[in-house]
Symmetry: C2
Subunit: 146 residues, 2 copies
Amino acid sequence: MDFDKPPPEPLASAPGFLLSWHGRRTAHAFAENLRQLGLKPPHFGVLRLIAAQPGSTQQELVERSMIDPSSMVAVIDELEELGLAERHAHEGDRRKHAIELTPEGERTLKGAQTIANQTAETVLGPLNARERKDLLILLRKLAGLQ
Amino acid sequence: MDFDKPPPEPLASAPGFLLSWHGRRTAHAFAENLRQLGLKPPHFGVLRLIAAQPGSTQQELVERSMIDPSSMVAVIDELEELGLAERHAHEGDRRKHAIELTPEGERTLKGAQTIANQTAETVLGPLNARERKDLLILLRKLAGLQ
DNA sequence: TATTGTTATACTCTATAACTATA
DNA sequence: TATAGTTATAGAGTATAACAATA
């Protein structure tokens, strides 16, 4: 898709379409920038969740990520193949895995976070600080938060 | 996906993620509501464009819709199967088609527009009129419009 | 019986390239 | 040679159901 041009009218006047367009554009830009690390957005999201709570089970990661269980298996498989995370034995329940970051996983997470910040900076470029703050507040309210 | 609950933190604090989430949620809600007419969002978008400029060629619809040429073929095929639009001969260039709405296409478009309005009303529910206006202005500016 | 993780599968959406008929 | 439309295909992303191991 071509996100260099703004969407044509009358689409650009429909809030619903604009939300959808921005969502796709933002996700696309982020995915594009993350590729230099060999990661996709779900990898980044899960790396962050593991870092926030090392030793989480896959179920717990599913609950905090909006990624379904079978996709989570694939994401963690890939993180293991990349040497960024590991499934460890879970104390007390042999069905569960305790997911941990490797040292390289922690380093990669920092790099990905930098890329995420740069992407946000680029995407939000047309807005000044005040407008960005307003937008975040509106989007959070729209999502039913606060 | 489950859009009933707001996205979990820390995702809900990242503007990029929120944009992406709202986009998917909005598109999902619209698609869900449109299904009662047997339509998908691209059908609605193209119906609107045909109504705005009857006799458009497929190329022209592609340019105004962000739908690529091969997908446009499929969309118009389906609109024809549904009896909502027709390919007519284009005067002066036999490669081109002049796309027209049928009377039923015009009726269905009105119904779809109503559904679009209801969906927007539901999605934007948490915001008051002032906030909706502000959001639209911010989203348009963010898209590089105006 | 219920839960955790896994596998296999199917489905939607989109993108790409090659083809035809016309210009 | 270039353009309009078409076809076939492949890829990404996601969803679903069935399964094994363990509780």
